[in-house]
């Protein structure tokens, strides 16, 4: 196999038949390039979707007040459903398998937040301490809100890293006092978060203090909660349970789909998981077919090669080439072409993915899509595996033509007519 003369023999035939060799190699290189690129793109998509999806705990639900679309007990349609603290307490008691629950109110009016001479407009969300478990935060320093902050109406605040960078560009934020609508809040933590919105700049304060200072009412914008150990079917039951309870309380039809907006992440995450699986399967199917096409291409061209070289092979056999050496000649050529061009395709595929990542091409071409396409890399195992598969199948594709070549009878090959 590592006979230098044999390689020289193969290289000299390859050199003398450049076009044919390049064309064979091109189909193989394209095949592996497509496979690597698709697998990488699939991975990127999955990474992106996962990180986007990860902003909410996958066992969570969120409820928003809506507007009725059905008249109910004398109340005409179009009634706005406003959730209040009582709903939060009611759901906290009644929902089965409840893990944690948090409400969120909202602060009307402009929210100018400042520290010394630094200021900006940030989104201030009053929540319970349990919100930490519903949304996926990464605490960078300090802590999130805690139970005491809620109970004692403390004027404390946790800020997102981007907010920290604006307000405290050169100093630490913890224990500093910032102004929210001219009321001082003490920073207790800095966090980072994944978000659909690239420009999210969030601040969280205790809901209790917010309702007291800014709202003067017990209105809630949403209620979020997580559930323990729950199946998709059970989660649908919980949705029903919530609708029934709220319908009783607020007086709307249980059939009214618009009175409450309920986002069921348990069901969504199952849908997403199924989507990922489908995408991955799709990529593999395309990959397998591309490989198959490459292999058929090599097989086809090697068949032509053997046909074209029938006479030459006949001459070689007449002057003493054994069948094994003829098989070796064709097979090694096939393997060499597949391996070399497979490698080129591999490098090109990995290179393209690398360029996309390095230069942030997705973001440059279509910014909103960038978040769904993160780190599009193919792990080395898949890349090497795919190349080995291609070489092995290339060898198989070369083997049958080679065997055909070995069976060429010199007399038939040398016959002039």
């Amino acid at each position: 196999m590592f006979d230098r003369d044999k390689w020289q023999e193969i290289f000299s035939t390859i050199r003398k038949n450049k076009t044919r060799t390049v064309l064979t190699g091109f189909s193989v290189a394209t095949g592996i390039f497509m496979l690597i690129f698709l697998l990488g793109a699939g991975r990127g998509l999955r990474n992106g979707m996962t990180s986007v999806f990860a902003q909410d705990a996958t066992n969570s639900m969120q409820i928003y007040g809506g507007r009725t679309t059905k008249a109910y007990k004398g109340t005409p349609e179009g009634k706005r459903i406003q959730m209040v603290n009582e709903d939060y307490l009611g759901l906290k008691k009644s929902i089965s398998k409840l893990d944690v629950i948090s409400a969120m109110s909202y602060i009307p009016g402009a929210e100018t937040i400042s520290y010394k001479n630094n200021f900006g407009n940030f989104n201030v969300s009053p929540v319970h301490d349990t919100y930490e478990k519903i949304k996926n935060f990464e605490i960078l320093s300090g802590r999130f809100l805690n139970e005491k902050d809620i109970k004692e109406n403390r004027k404390v605040v946790v800020i997102q890293d981007v907010v920290k960078d604006v307000l405290f560009p050169k100093e630490t934020a913890i224990n500093k006092l910032i102004n929210i609508n001219n009321i001082k809040f003490k920073v207790v933590g800095v966090f980072s978060q994944q978000s659909f919105d690239e420009n999210s700049r969030d601040i969280y304060i205790p809901i209790t203090v917010a309702q007291k200072i800014f709202n003067n009412n017990d209105h809630l914008q949403r209620i979020s909660f997580t559930l323990n150990d729950i199946s998709v079917e059970e989660s649908k039951g919980v949705v029903q349970q919530v609708i029934y309870k709220m319908a009783d309380k607020h007086g709307f039809s249980k059939e009214d789909k618009s009175a409450l907006w309920i986002q069921n992440n348990i069901e969504n995450s199952q849908t997403f998981a199924a989507l990922f699986t489908a995408i991955e399967m799709f990529v593999w199917i395309i990959g397998i077919f591309t490989i198959a096409l490459g292999v058929i291409g090599v097989f086809n061209i090697m068949m032509i090669v053997v046909k074209e070289r029938t006479k030459e092979i006949g001459v070689r056999k007449a002057i003493g080439a054994s069948p094994a050496s003829v098989i070796g000649l064709i097979l090694m050529e096939a393997i060499f072409i597949t391996a070399a061009s497979g490698y080129i395709g591999l490098i090109a595929g990995v290179g393209l993915l690398e360029v996309i990542t390095q230069f942030d091409l997705i973001y440059k071409i279509y910014p909103p899509a960038a978040i769904y396409f993160v780190n599009p890399q193919v792990d080395l195992g898949i890349a090497v595996g795919a190349t080995i598969v291609l070489v092995v199948t290339g060898a198989l594709a070369g083997f049958f033509p080679a065997r055909k070549a070995a069976r060429i009878r010199p007399i038939e090959a040398l016959r002039d007519e």
């Binding site: 001459v315 056999k317 054994s322 069948p323 050496s325 007399i411």
Partner: protein
């Protein structure tokens, strides 16, 4: 050197069975220069193919160099061809993408002779045939006579016992034909058995013995003349 007893060969084409050789008895001694003649369809090429181990005979006994040739593996046949036989063809059958030197060196490749050595030997043999300056040329840059001389160099480089030439002059003009025949005669003079298949009378008459084939049988054998074996050879072994 070659002994044939009652050799039969048939080809099956579809449902037809074509009986090509119908019992050939022949003895060719070492160092002979023999021609096989016959019209097309007489079986002369088939006989040459059997002699050249390029095809199997169906029936009869074939002794080559005291060795009985029966159904044998392709690998073994290839080895015997490489060791004992050299071929010269009507259409030269040079490998088009190899230059003259590489073509001549190819049989040595299958003998596992190192590249440098076989190329050096190839140039030597080309030199003997007056083609040294053409060693780096591709076959399509050579004339018919030059191509046939390259093919002859290729056939003798392994120092075979027998040269089998199938219509070696069939594609050449008469002047070149005579040159090629002179070369073959010189080779023969060096002790190598040469068997030439031809349908040209004048070519056949340059050999020691003419074997006339007709319808798969030997019709007649004509002894022509003896070459002077004492003549010094330009083609050394």
């Amino acid at each position: 050197m070659i002994r044939l007893q009652n050799i039969h060969k048939s080809y099956i084409t579809g449902t037809n069975k074509l009986h090509v050789l119908k019992g050939i008895d022949l003895h060719i001694k070492e160092g002979e220069l023999v021609s096989i003649m016959g019209s097309s369809g007489s079986g002369k090429s088939t006989l040459l193919n059997i002699l050249g181990l390029l095809d199997n005979h169906d029936d009869g006994v074939y002794l080559l160099n005291q060795q009985e040739i029966k159904a044998m593996s392709e690998t073994k046949a290839a080895k015997l061809r490489n060791d004992l036989l050299g071929f010269v063809f009507q259409s030269f059958n040079l490998i088009s993408f190899k230059n003259a030197m590489e073509n001549v060196a190819l049989p040595l490749y299958y003998k596992k002779v190192a590249r440098k050595k076989r190329n050096r030997m190839a140039v030597e043999y080309l030199d003997k045939l007056g083609l040294k300056d053409w060693a780096e040329h591709m076959p399509n840059e050579l004339s018919g006579g030059q191509k046939q001389r390259v093919a002859i160099a290729r056939s003798i480089i392994t120092n075979p016992k027998i040269i089998l030439a199938d219509e070696p002059t069939g594609a050449l003009d008469s002047k070149t034909s005579i040159e090629v025949m002179d070369i073959l005669k010189e080779i023969n003079a060096s002790g190598i058995t040469v068997i030439i298949v031809t349908h040209e009378n004048d070519i056949a008459h340059m050999t020691d013995r003419i074997i006339n084939l007709k319808d798969g049988r030997i019709e007649s054998i004509i002894e022509t003349r003896k070459v002077n074996r004492t003549e010094s050879s330009k083609i050394p072994q």
